[in-house]
Subunit: 133 residues, 2 copies
Amino acid sequence: MKSPEQKQFYTITELTREFGVSTRTIRFYEDEGLIQPIRRGRTRLFKPSDRRLLMLIMRGKRLGFSIAEIREIISIYKEPPGESGQLKLLIQRVIEKRDQLLQKRTDIDETIAELDQVEEQCLGRMAELGVGT
Amino acid sequence: MKSPEQKQFYTITELTREFGVSTRTIRFYEDEGLIQPIRRGRTRLFKPSDRRLLMLIMRGKRLGFSIAEIREIISIYKEPPGESGQLKLLIQRVIEKRDQLLQKRTDIDETIAELDQVEEQCLGRMAELGVGT
DNA sequence: GCCTGATTTTACTTTTACGTAAATTTTTTG
DNA sequence: CAAAAAATTTACGTAAAAGTAAAATCAGGC
């Protein structure tokens, strides 16, 4: 059995529905060089690899990365490990990005901890008032 | 002994240096109602509480939250737990924000895992080449 | 008390990430 | 094949988050 729904190609509107964005947005990402759908005539055809790139892009957006930063991240995945000097550079870039992400995770954990405190206070106050949750 | 460097007031330039932003940025946050420094004449004086708010703002920015979203988060902390209905609403808002943050953390963990893989491949390739890290 | 540098206000500009509209294909469907 | 629906190109518009410039004002040191 093949994996579920492994389509050859996706149309632009299929992808706008899946990711909840407009055609303008997807074409914008193409203009920015983040994806390169092939063409049949003028119409764009998106391969599964384009779809995976879109998933990466959306994830980057959720994390507050700019298009430029998302481009960097994508290029890290693309880079074919070549010559030794390049490899060292690539590792440097990996380390940088990971540090950024670790900082973000710290920020998130702190914020969640604070929100937990607020919630606890609320629940305590509600218990005092004799209110059910 | 008092805690280290507990100043009464900070000037705008002290804060720009500490947070690595411009005066324009700090005034912009004031215009947006995120902070409310007091005035001596026309000059702004920032209290430790304003400084703490700026820390919250910067953290929000690092996480890719918009000014509007940062305003929401700040207002969660400010909200004095009042009446029962309000408390329930506040808890709802806490839960929403926390869900957003948990999603972000998932995104981060996935991205870090992928970066780790890239790094491993690089290191493997370098070992093949007989190159030291 | 004046000079120098910091601060403020006002207003126009810029960049990013798309939105929107119009005119033109292109594709699909009856 | 004709009509409708979908996709494309081109171009201008916009909101958010500041940048920047100019002119005026203020504060602190000598």
